[in-house]
């Protein structure tokens, strides 16, 4: 195509100005891809962690269970139905009994959630096997966040208080046998794990559970009366929304960057159409149609985006790959935000992300280049040849 060949000559001939625009654009590309890559990587890791530690491949909730309403816990335990009993013994699902309790770090009262979990389960990553530890006190397992907020260390003994199914308060000593590290705050902050049987006994609800986690290798989702199946999509909804918001937030930032790049290109285009009137007149005198000249200037502008892909690839690909390998260390304290964030996020760049970014920038650049170039078709060639239009 003639326009491409001529546009290329003109751009390369224009030298520094071209490369400045190309550099800004290539930077935009890399930043968009990198930022989205980090968000996607975070999303991917968070989903992975949440499935491993909490959601498995879905959950069964006792009819009344509402994780956001602590008062629902009193009514939301029921006898384990036969189907789930069988699945439990096959290791496909694992039951969890949930109850409210209180703990007294430094003599302050702090409420927490007691989770009864089978020490032998392998469905989720909670190190429940540690609950088999022999000790005079009741062995419990907690996460790092819980340990920090209650100032507990491994081997510490502390008092917990709870109310059983009949509404009677009781208190006992527990011993922290294990503190685990986990990127999912909801299974850690304010949570204490205790042997399922022990909690059933404490609650006086033998053989009962609040919910079941379905193992990641199982697709079990049969409906069971009195229990509600919650799919992984449902359970991840909050996280998915959050990721969406993050992406929108991110787009505002790169929208500004893109705007700057587009301004630079628009400016270059407007300027060149004024500075290059004589050239435009000459093109027309030599027999280019106005459409061809407009096309040439548009392609010239749009070609910035294509050159930027090449330039961006030169320094961007090594950078992106390096980031993918070493990951991005999240600032200290980011795990207190209540959302699952790994200490190091490894960006994930999908082909879709790369292609859509390139297309987006290319299309916008083309439009921005066309707008001023369009004015050429209104130019009077005899004035343009002399370069006298002001």
């Amino acid at each position: 195509m003639l326009a491409i060949k001529l546009a290329y000559r003109n751009l390369i001939g224009a030298g520094l100005r071209t490369w400045l625009n190309v550099f800004v654009l290539s930077f935009t590309y890399i930043l968009i891809i990198w930022q989205y890559g980090v968000i996607d990587g975070w999303n991917y890791q968070a989903k992975f962690d949440m499935q491993a530690w909490e959601f498995g491949n879905g959950q069964y909730w006792q009819r009344n269970y509402d994780p956001y309403d602590y008062f629902s816990f009193e009514e939301s335990h029921a006898a384990i139905p036969e189907l789930l009993q069988k699945a439990t013994s096959e290791g496909i699902v694992t039951p969890i009994l949930i109850s409210q309790g209180t703990i007294y770090p430094d003599g302050r009262l702090q409420s927490m959630i007691l989770r009864g979990i089978s020490p032998n389960q392998k469905v989720i990553a909670i190190p429940s096997a540690e609950l088999n530890t022999k000790s005079e006190e009741i062995p419990v397992v907690i996460g790092r966040r819980m340990a920090n907020s209650c100032k507990l260390k491994q081997g510490d003994i502390t008092t917990i208080r709870w109310r059983d199914a009949n509404g009677t308060f009781d208190a006992k000593e527990v011993k922290v046998v294990k503190i685990f590290n986990c990127d999912v705050p909801s299974v850690d902050a304010g949570q204490m794990y205790i042997s399922l049987e022990k909690l059933q006994e404490m609650m006086q609800t033998p053989g009962e559970a609040t919910m079941f986690v379905v193992g990641e290798n199982s697709a079990m989702k049969d409906s069971i009366s009195g229990w509600k199946y919650k799919s992984i999509d449902f359970l991840m909804k909050d996280m998915t929304e959050l990721i969406k918001m993050k992406k929108v937030g991110g787009s505002i930032f790169y929208f500004i960057l893109l705007l700057l790049a587009m301004l630079a290109i628009f400016d270059t285009q407007v300027l060149s159409i004024f500075r290059r009137q004589k050239e435009i007149g000459t093109y027309i005198a030599m027999g280019m149609t106005r459409k061809q000249v407009v096309g040439l200037f548009t392609v010239e502008g749009a070609m910035h985006a294509i050159l930027a892909v090449i330039v961006g690839a030169v320094y961007g690909v090594p950078f992106l790959l390096w980031q993918m390998k070493i990951g991005m260390t999240m600032p200290a304290g980011s795990d207190d935000m209540g959302i699952p964030i790994a200490k190091t996020i490894f960006p994930v760049y999908g082909a879709g992300l790369v292609i859509s970014t390139i297309l987006l920038v290319l299309i916008i650049t083309t439009i921005v280049s066309y707008m001023p170039a369009h004015k050429i078709s209104k130019m009077n060639p005899t004035d343009a040849i002399k370069g006298k239009i002001q």
Partner: protein, 236 residues
């Protein structure tokens, strides 16, 4: 319409809008041109030379009357058809050279052939031929900024001639050149006129150019006041 002429101009009037009214730059021009002429419009500044040349070059349109170039009615061509006429049959040479600044000498001369979609090997040969005509084969990689005024105008001549057009229109081609360069350029154009039978039409008030013309059309206030054939080509 007399189709046997290369160019036929009948009762041409050109008005320009100025302020509230109109300014008549050309007023009742009647002219014909044959193949192979070496002709110039001469006259004082503002007499309408450039305007007439632009209309013949289909860069501008008549207000009244008709201008027929190579069988096409210039006033009735749309911008695309006019562009095609220029692309195929017309070459332009300007006072200010109007070379493409980021292109090399070679690329500048090649440009009209790219528009004609000539294939690469033919194109290369034609460009080299044109550069031989103007004696610039040693500067093919230079940019216009690296050339003297005379060299620039030689590139412009090569660019106008490379596609061997029927008509070359040259508006004050020597205005920015010294005497030696002016003679050089004119001799070259005369030679091409004789060898290739290309019609040259000038707009000029430069005596150096006028000396070379084979036909001199004098304009004043938008009217032809004299149209003379000059038999002898003095001091070539």
């Amino acid at each position: 319409m007399e189709q046997n002429f290369l160019i036929t101009i009948n009762n041409l009037v050109k008005n320009f809008p100025i302020g509230g009214g109109e300014f008549t730059a050309l007023n009742g021009i009647n002219l014909t041109f044959n193949t192979g002429e070496f002709v110039g419009f001469v006259g004082p500044s503002g007499s309408g030379k450039t305007t007439l040349l632009n209309i013949i070059g289909s860069l501008d349109t008549p207000s009244e009357g008709s201008v027929n170039v190579l069988g096409r009615e210039v006033g009735k061509l749309n911008t695309k058809k006019a562009a095609i006429l220029r692309r195929q049959h017309l070459g332009f040479i300007f006072q200010t050279y109007n070379l493409l600044p980021v292109y090399s000498v070679y690329e500048n001369v090649e440009f009209p052939l790219l528009l004609l979609k000539m294939n690469a090997s033919e194109r290369k040969k034609a460009v080299m031929d044109a550069l031989v005509w103007v004696g610039l084969t040693d500067k093919i990689k230079s940019r216009p900024a690296q050339l003297s005024g005379g060299e620039c105008q030689r590139v412009a001549v090569a660019r106008a001639m490379v596609k061997k057009p029927k008509i070359v229109l040259a508006d004050e081609p020597t205005a920015n050149l010294d005497a030696a360069n002016s003679h050089n350029i004119l001799k070259m154009m005369l030679k091409l006129n004789e060898e290739l039978k290309t019609t040259f039409i000038f707009a000029t008030h430069d005596d150096k150019v006028i000396k070379y013309l084979k036909r001199k059309i004098s304009l004043e206030d938008g009217k032809v006041i004299q149209d003379e054939i000059i038999k002898t080509n003095k001091e070539k």
